[in-house]
Each structure stands twice: as C-alpha cells, then as structure tokens.
C-alpha cells in the first residue's frame, strides 16, 4: 500500500519486532541530503528495499538485535524560501540528520540553526545526527572536522563526515556506506531505546500485538 509501510508483516521474521521511525533530512540546498541517504539505501542492497516513486521519500530497514527498524526518510527542501514549511515535515519525526557541506561554512551555520530549531520545536526526544558532506573535497574544506565534531559533542549529536562522490572515489564510497549505515544503526538504537518503552502502539510495534489486542 502507498503508506509504504507498516501494514505488511515481514513474513520472514515473524519473531522480530518491527519499529517504524520517521527520519527527516534537513540542511541547506544542494548539500547532498538525498544523495547521502540514497547511497545508504542503495549501498546496502542492490536496489531500493522499498521502491519508491522518488528520492524525496525513501524507506529503509536496519536490523538491530531483535528489532527491525524501518526508517521512513523524509527529505526537505533546503531553500531558504521553503524554510517555513520544514515543521510540517519534521513534526513527529523520531530522528533527524542535519547535513552541511564542509566546503561551505554558511551551510554549517545553517545546520546549527536547524539543530537549534529542532531542539526547540521538534519532538523532545528526537535523535539528531550531524553530517558533514562532501568530505572528498578535502582541498576545499572550510569547515574543520574537529570544529564540527566539537560542536556535535557539546550538544550531544551524532556526527559523521560523508562523501558525496560515488563514481569518482569508489573505494572511499565503499567505506562511506558502512559509515552512514553505522550512524543509522546508532540512530536506530538510540531512537528505539528512547521510544520503545514509551511508544504505545503502531509505529513501534508490529501490528500483531497492538491491533489484535484492540480487536
């Protein structure tokens, strides 16, 4: 069904708990938000696990110990003029990845503003990851790794640097995918730690338990 989602049970893993999390991508225009995640979605599997009609919405599952975390990844438009629309996208999100371009300091500043806004307005327990993209362009780097990392540590964000180049730097890219994957795992773990005990139903549970109970 169109909701991409929680409806269909995962027949192969009947014992596994399935959590569904909404993950929102924020960041300035053209910092590589969607390509970053697309690489993860495509990198682990040959094709999309969930074939979607476009890259603005992607779905991907990550397996934790006994839980399958299904991320619904909502991309946002980074243009300043569409800024005011972002709350509609990040409301209810359990996780966010804020992306900036390491070659453009202003995108880092913008990322900080996004983080601030999320902390203020989004779900209180939202897990936020900061991603410095285009790490392959080291010679043009204007945001130091340490600076971003320190910032992230100070306010308790996950941090990673990623490379947007896929074709040119394949070796690096292959290293990159696990990196993103790892971060999503971390997000998944953090999110499920926070969420699973407190989530009543639906998003955090397989349909079988809650809904059967309901009926």
């Amino acid at each position: 069904m169109s909701t991409g989602g929680n409806g269909r049970p995962n027949g192969s893993l009947p014992q596994t708990k399935i959590c569904q999390f909404k993950l929102v991508l924020l960041g300035d225009m053209a910092v590589g938000k969607s390509s970053l995640v697309l690489r993860f979605v495509k990198g682990q599997f040959d094709e999309f696990q969930e074939t979607t009609i476009g890259a603005a919405f992607l779905a991907q599952s990550v397996c934790l110990d006994d839980t399958t975390v299904k991320f619904e990844i909502w991309d946002t438009a980074g243009q300043e003029r569409y800024h005011s629309l972002a709350p509609m996208y990040y409301r209810g999100a359990q996780a966010a990845i804020v992306v900036f371009d390491i070659t453009k300091p202003e995108t880092f500043e913008r990322a900080k503003a996004w983080v601030k806004e999320l902390q203020r307005q989004a779900s209180p327990n939202i897990v936020i990851a900061l991603a410095g993209n285009k790490a392959d362009l080291a010679e043009k780097r204007l945001v130091e790794y340490e600076d971003a990392q320190t910032y992230a540590e100070d306010i308790g964000l996950l941090f990673m640097e990623t490379s947007a180049k896929t074709a040119m730097n394949r070796k690096r890219c292959q290293k990159q995918t696990p990196r993103i994957s790892h971060t999503l795992h971390e997000i998944g773990e953090l999110t499920s730690k926070i969420r699973i005990p407190s989530l009543p139903r639906g998003a955090a549970e397989t349909k079988s338990s809650a809904n059967r109970l309901a009926s």
């Binding site: 192969s12 053209a30 938000k33 603005a56 005011s84 509609m88 409301r91 989530l199 139903r201």
Partner: protein, 774 residues
Amino acid sequence: MESLEDGPDQGHAKCCVKSSRRMSNGDSAPASGPFVLLLHLRACQEAWAPGAPWTKDGAHAALWGRPAGSFLVLRDSSARPELLCVCVEGASEPVKDFPIRGSGTVVQLIDSHLGFPDLAQLVVFYTLSRDVLPVCLLVPAWMSSLAKPSEKPPPQLGPKSWLCPPSNTSSDSMSVSSVAPGVVMCTIQLTTASGALCIVNPLYVHEHGDDWLSQASVSAQQGAHPDKRRFERRLSKTRPWGGAGLVKNRGISLDEETLQSYSKGPAGAGVGAAVVTTSTGVVLRRSSSSSTSSTSSSSCDLFQRASTGSSVFYSSAPQSPHRVSWVESNMWMSPPPPPSLLHPPSLELDSLSVSSMEEETDSACSSPALSHHSRLLLAGKMKNRLSAVGNALGGLVNPQKRLTNRVQELSRSRSGGFGVALRAFVEQTQRAVVAEAVTSTDILQEVRTSLTGLRDMLMEHTDVSSLMDSMADLPEAELDVMLETSLHKVALKPVSSHLYSCIHSSHSSDGSFQKLQSNQHTLEGRSLEELEGTSGTGVPDPVTMEKIQQRWVSMHGAYSPNTKVHILLKVCKTIYHSMRANAKPGVVFGADDFLPCLTWVLLRSDVVTLQIDTDYMMELLDPMQLQGEGGYYLTSVYSALFYISTFRPRLAVRQLSVEAQQSLSQWHRRRTLHCNQSRRGCHRRTIRRHANTKTSPKDAPGPEGESRDTQVPPGGSEETLQVITDHQSVVEVCMKEQSENHTQEPQPRDNKSPGVRGSGPDAKTGPSQGGWAD
C-alpha cells in the same frame, strides 16, 4: 484491484529474496531458474533493448512477421526505456506499442499498475503474464535454453540476431535442453499457503497485492522454464528438425552463428516471414506463425500459442487485462500425461498436481500426433479443473467486494444499529454548516470521529467480524484499509460533496482562498528557477500538464480519501518523470528539486479545488494511511499550497506571519501525527475535539493587519522562533490535555523552562502506555 498504490511502492528487491524462500515450501523450484533468465536478459540487454539508432519504425519493421510476443524495447535519447514494441499478430496492427515509464527506481508500462526495479525484471514478468498486454512476451527459445548462469549469451548480440536466434547444429543441444539435475517439474499448486507456483489463486493475489505478483512471476518462471525446456527436448526427440531449432547451441560456434545470422539477416528487418536465414528452428517458428498450421508444425504452433497466451481452441477465456494471466503461459507448458492417466475433473483444492504424471511423459510421447493429442486432452481437462476451482473460489475472489457488500447490506437494514447510526451520521453531516465558531476543520474532524465510531460498530458486528476473521491471513493493516474503504462507500459517498462545499465556504469566509488565488496569479508566471528549482530539472510539458489536470479532476471526483491519495501519488510520479526528462542518468532528485517543481505544477492547477481535496484527505484519512509515502507527498502538497497562500514577495523569507503561525499551529493540530493509533483511538479524538475548542483563538486575528505588526526583521530567525513559541503556548495547553492520549505532536518548548522536556508528550506517553501494553 483497489490497491492504494501502484506496485512499485513495495519492495521488489525484497521480492526476490522472499520468492526463493517461498520456493522452498513450494517444492517445485530449481533455485536458479528465473535468476538465470534474468541474468541472461541483463547480459544481452543491448540486443532486445537497443539504443539510439533504433527507431520505432525500425523496430516495427524488425518485428513484422515474428511470432506473437516477440518484442523489442526502444530507448530514448538518454537511454531510458521508452517503448515496448510487441508483435501481436493482429491483422490490422501486427506490432503494438506500449509506452514505458522509466525512472531511476521504477520501470513500468504506463498502462499498468505494476512497477519493476529494472527493465529486465519487467520483461521477465511479462513473459509470464500479459497483464495489460494482448499477449505474453516471448523470449526466444534459445535464451531460455541457456540453463546455467555461466552460459552467457554473446554480448555483441544485436536486435536482429535477438529475433533470429543462432541456429543449432551441434548435437550437444540435447544436453542443453535436458532438465538440469535437481530440477523438479512444475507442480500445479492451488493452495494459498504455498505461494501458488503455477496457478495463481486469485484470492491470494488479491490478498497479497501486486508486489506479491512480482515475486510470483519469478516463482512461476522457475516452475515454467524447466518445462519449457523439457517440452523442447521432447520436440527435439520426436522431431529433431523442429526441436533443434528451438534450442540454442551453447557451443563455441555460437558467436559465429550470431554474426552469420546477423550478416545474412538484414533483409529480415523488412520481411521477417519471408526471409529465412539461419536455422531450421527459425523457419519452423516463422512458418507456424505465418501460415495456418500444418499437422507437422502444429505441435510447435501449440507451443507458441501456449506461450503467448493466445490459444484459440484450448482456452476460451476472454482476453481482458487481468493480473493473473500468466497462468495462461504456464499451465500449457506442463508436459502432458498420457491420456490414461488423466483424472476426471475434480474439486480438490489443495493439491492438483500433474508432476507425478510427468515422469511417464517422455515415453508416452513417441509421436508428434500422440503428443498433440495428449496435450489437447490435458488442456481440456485442466480447463475443466480450473473452472471448477474457479467456481469454488468465486465467492472468495474479492474480499473487498464481499466486505463492501456486507457493509452495504448492513447500512440498508432498517433495524440494525449500524444502519441507524449511519443514517443519523449522514443526516447530521449534511446539515452541518460552517458558522462563526465552526470551521470546516471542525466538521471534518467530527466526521472522522464518526467514521471511527462507525468502524468500531462494524467491527463489533458479528457478521462483519466473522467475515474478517475468515480473512485473518490478511495483514491487519490491510483489513483496516478494506474496512475503511467499505465504510467510505456507505458513509462518505453521500456526504462528500457537502463536505467540499463546507471546506469551500470556510476557506472563502476566512479569506484564505482569495489569498491563495491572488498569490497564484502573482506567482503564476514564475519559472522553475524563480521558484529556486535546481537547474537542469525538467517541468511537465503541456501534454503532461493536461494529463495532470485530468488526474486532479478525477482526484476531486473520488469520495474516498484513500483513492484520492492514490491519485495524488500518481501525479507525483508523473512530476518526477518530467523532472528526469532531460537529466543525466544517475542524477538524484530529492526534495530540493521536487518541492519547487510541485509548486510550479500547483501554480498551474486549480489551487482552490486542490486545497479542498488536501484538507479532505488530511482530516479524513485513516491515521494509518497518513504514514509513509502517501503521508509524505500529501504533506508536500499541503506545504506547497501553504507556500503559495502565504507568499509575500517583500518579506524576508524566514519570517513567519501571524497567519503562517496560525496555519502552522492548525497544522500541529491536524491528525497526521496520530498515525500510531489503532482503531480504538476514538476516545482520544473526543478529547482532542474538546481541546480544539480551547484553541479557537486561531480564527480570531484579522489576516492582514496583524501580520505586519509582528514582522520580524530580516534574518531574525531567533525572534521568529520565539514568536512561534509564544504563539504555540496556546497549543501547548491543548496538547497537555491531549497527552493522555499518546499524542506525539512536537511540543514547542520554552527555552527558559528546560523542565518542560520532562513533561513533554513523549514523557507522558509512558504511563498511559501501560494500558496498551497490557
């Protein structure tokens, strides 16, 4: 099929994995079958999907006179598949074209709802199922005779040699065509549980949707191809002159043969039937397709007809497009048992298997005539069996229909509680009018509450619950959707137009429609660049825009919010398609690109009607339906409309007007967030409505003047946020009331009071959640 979304939204990649798992309980699958064909098809994709120099006319010429089902795929300038040309052997139109919609992620025939991750998978599927095609696609026999992945088709194969397969002169063709070790013959399974390999139980298809079909196509193929090979082997045994041609030589001479056929074959492009170039096999196939079948070639003819699904005298089934038509292509391929072993038609539903009879097949088929005869018999018997099965399953075929019928009966009942409640609901809703204190949102939320209540009534009704219990193997969420859909028909259909007019008058009286329209006029002429769309992104051309407009019209015509979302997703898909039109392959379009493009499209559409439909969907969709892709694109449309209606050319972009904040807070009150609720959530809604009345100041301020007063200096994002926070403290009050009901709305927190964090909605879900966990 009333699936909410096109097939492609479900995971195809997953399908493959699943299918192999399914196979294991289906007991009839060689592990390699479909994957091998898929690999081979991919390996020689250039041959059947040639690039630039090939035009439609060229393809038609090349296909002219070929056996029905022969096909070529044409690519556009950017190498995306564009057109599927299929030979249909029609008198007036021997070759038909089917446009392909290809994106980075989904390839599909425009006429069909089925999407595939790539072109090769699409082709494999359509070799097994016609779906919307008049015939199944026909992969040259020499292709399917390549048994192992290691046997690669020659990479330099061209379209013409694809259509004129290399001949086989080597004797090792026998071993090529023989069944690989470990291959189990196709078993005709009619159980729903085993994944129904050869004959698809329509109930199963209905229950499990389109994505299952794509798995099934693979499974079916696994079952089918050994048989095909086996049949070919039988042909080659009995009539070596014919069978040899159907089988590809895998020896080293292959490349030479290919080249040879290619060099000899150019004339074939024009007059395929007349020119016989390379192999006896080709001769046979062509003559059988172009002449009325002589006795000697009838078996081959049969094979061909069977594989194309155009059998005239074996099946009188109408050729309407349906999803399980690949049955046609498979069942006749099963080698026929000798007549003596045929069972009379029976109603055994669990396992009708001919596999046990197959072992005797070879010895029995000592002559072409006998073979032909037995095939006929088998065909007739199987048809009988199938129709018996079909009758038996008839009542089960469409659970949605059964449910809808049942709900409709209940709705008509004068005495039943549901019927009475429903009529009360319809009357009450039709009387509802937008007034000072009552916005259309209130009315819609009232309707949603009633819908949930009615649905609960239905669930408790013994008839419905027993009916639903009988469909217990369907996923819960799917049952919910089905019940909703049934309910929409009896409850929303009579009131939808009244609700539209409520929304309309509500937005007209608060001036938002006027604003939307005037801003539309302001922005109408903006190019995509002016909307900050990324360069290189395409916009829909006039023809596509026309199509989109038609979709909007049909979206407005639909009373069910589920159907509306379905259509909305189709439009979004079309927009993506246009965006990619001139893009380099591999370019990824995210929201940076999509939202401006969507806005561009909306500016050229009837925004008022769209706003009505968006509100309608937002408020009336079942919360479960507001997740996922549907929720995302609905949010995008809502956002784009919001952008248009709040557009202020002179203001710094980041400022939020009071209306914007109001609208946002209204947005916060919307139901999208409550998607985690089960059908028991009506209690929550009642309380929320109560909460809403407390937030009524939302209508209070005048739209124009106030907003100017609260303008924030450019760049004042901090202040802007502060304004939001202050404004939303009202919302916060209401949300605290709601928190008992597991709401997850983002709660604005004041910087000065970090302690709020602990009292946020999430923290509060804790205690209340206990009730659910138990």
